[in-house]
């Protein structure tokens, strides 16, 4: 089980409060975490990753254990603390005006 913290607008879309807990088969990666998140909350498809390319949307960032994972490839393994459910994976709307 991993823990994911969504930004405010995505919590609203998904109609959840607080953290989301997800079951991910095998050692979790960025891609498998997002696959599990979108499977549980289909409304989030296209809001974090592009529908077709699955690339990160430009103003969405990923953090875990004080590390910026935004530029890491999708197959990047999440830190052990995240895989163990000790630390959350943070999905953040980047500071970008407006």
């Amino acid at each position: 089980m991993i823990r994911v913290v969504l930004p405010y607008h995505l919590r609203t879309l998904a109609r959840v409060e607080g953290e989301v807990q997800l079951e991910v088969a095998g050692p979790p990666t960025l891609a498998s975490a997002f696959d599990a998140l979108e499977a549980r909350f289909p409304v989030l498809r296209g809001t974090i990753r592009d529908h077709a390319t699955l690339r990160r949307r430009p103003f969405v960032r990923f953090f875990a254990c004080k590390e910026d994972l935004s530029l890491e490839p999708p197959e990047t393994r999440l830190p052990d603390e995240v895989a163990a459910g000790v630390e959350p994976l943070l999905i953040i709307g980047a500071m970008a005006g407006g």
Partner: protein
């Protein structure tokens, strides 16, 4: 008694304003989708409680929301807008070719006959359609064959912002795209042709016969005269009496013919409304006076409508999708400003009143006349 429902899209959410047929006391509901840009909301003509909304964000992309109960509750429906086949390229700012990239939906136009069918105008310019109530969207790619490789975005983006369905011919649709022009299909969207003959854009387009590249801001039609269209272009107010095959300028005595919205009175096909804006460099009313101009002759002869509108120190803009008319008697006219006011006239424009003052910048206004 009839009821009015005004759907207002703003930079920071949607609002729904309701009143009875007296149009005096308005109730404001919202914000819906607070914090998101609501480019456009519109109801189905055949099922007015079926509403569609384009919800967008620079961070999280495009959402389409649907309501089946007049806006009390909403559900997110499909948000995948995929260009058909290999998307190809259009002209870029430096003259090179640039791939089509989906950014947002500017305009939603529900079918005149089926509440599950909706057309959507996209940036980068393309036309999409759903026939399942918004769950899935398919492009009508023939539009981009109408010299799409020559379309070039302007500063506001290359958005398909206007969709006009011909009530007398289900196969005929008109659309307009910023900095590309107006287009028409006569076969329900399979093939399209530019309809820009007569438009003059001498500063933007040196070629006086350019088929595409004209910056059309808005097109309006009266349902009783589907072959007559009125256009607010970047500069110039235009009309066509032959379904867009040729256009004539009808700016007449307007103090400035730059502007964004244009609309037609619900019961008088030759009565039209524009909001003149000072210039393409200064997007606010001339002399700080917010004036709607009305022509009862289909253009050329215009009168200023000022009663109830600020006549000094007013520097708001009125965007292209932010004007609408109701079909009561007399017809009501509504428009929203970038200052967050929605003004309404219950007497065809003779007098105005702000029915809400302090919303976020208004992007779109649509009125539903409910029986």
């Amino acid at each position: 008694m009839s009821k009015l429902r005004v759907l207002v899209g703003t930079k920071k959410g949607a609002f729904i304003l309701t009143a009875d047929g007296n149009r005096k006391r308005w109730k404001v509901s919202g914000p819906f989708f607070a914090g998101w840009e609501l480019y456009h909301l519109k109801g189905s003509p055949v099922d007015p409680d079926r509403l569609y909304a384009s919800q967008t964000s620079g961070w999280f992309g495009q959402m389409i929301q649907r309501s089946n109960d007049g806006g009390k509750t909403w559900e997110a429906v499909g948000n995948e807008f995929k260009y058909e086949g290999v998307p190809g390229t259009h002209k870029w700012y430096d003259g090179t070719q640039h791939p089509w990239e989906f950014k947002r939906i500017w305009h939603l136009e529900p079918s005149l006959t089926d509440p599950d069918t909706v057309y959507a105008g996209a940036e980068d310019a393309a036309m999409f359609r759903t026939v399942d109530g918004g769950r899935t969207w398919q492009e009508l790619p023939g539009l981009r064959d109408a010299k799409g490789h020559l379309w070039q975005p302007g500063a506001g983006g290359m958005g398909l912002h206007t969709i006009v369905l011909d009530p007398s011919d289900a196969n005929r649709i008109y659309i307009a795209i910023s900095a590309a022009g107006a287009f028409r299909t006569d076969d329900a969207g399979k093939t399209w042709k530019p309809i820009n003959r007569g438009l003059k854009s001498q500063f933007e387009l040196p070629d006086p016969d350019a088929e595409v590249g004209h910056c059309v801001h808005r097109i309006a039609m009266h349902k009783a005269r589907p072959g007559v269209l009125f256009m607010q272009k970047h500069w110039d107010v235009m009309r066509t009496d032959n379904a867009g095959d040729s256009w004539q300028e009808v700016s007449g005595n307007l103090p400035t013919d730059f502007g964004f919205p244009i609309d037609v009175h619900a019961h008088e096909p030759e009565t039209i409304y524009v909001v003149p804006i000072k210039s393409d460099s200064e997007h606010f009313p001339l002399d700080g006076k917010l004036r709607v101009y009305r022509s009862r002759t289909g253009g050329n002869d215009w009168e200023a409508l000022t009663k109830g509108l600020p006549q000094k120190d007013c520097y708001v803009n009125v965007l292209r999708d932010a004007m609408s008319v109701d079909s009561l008697e007399p017809s009501g006219i509504y428009f929203g400003t970038t200052g967050g006011q929605v003004y309404a006239s219950a007497d065809s424009g003779d007098t105005w009143k702000a029915i809400v003052h302090d919303l976020p910048a208004v992007l779109s206004v649509e009125v539903q006349t409910l029986s």
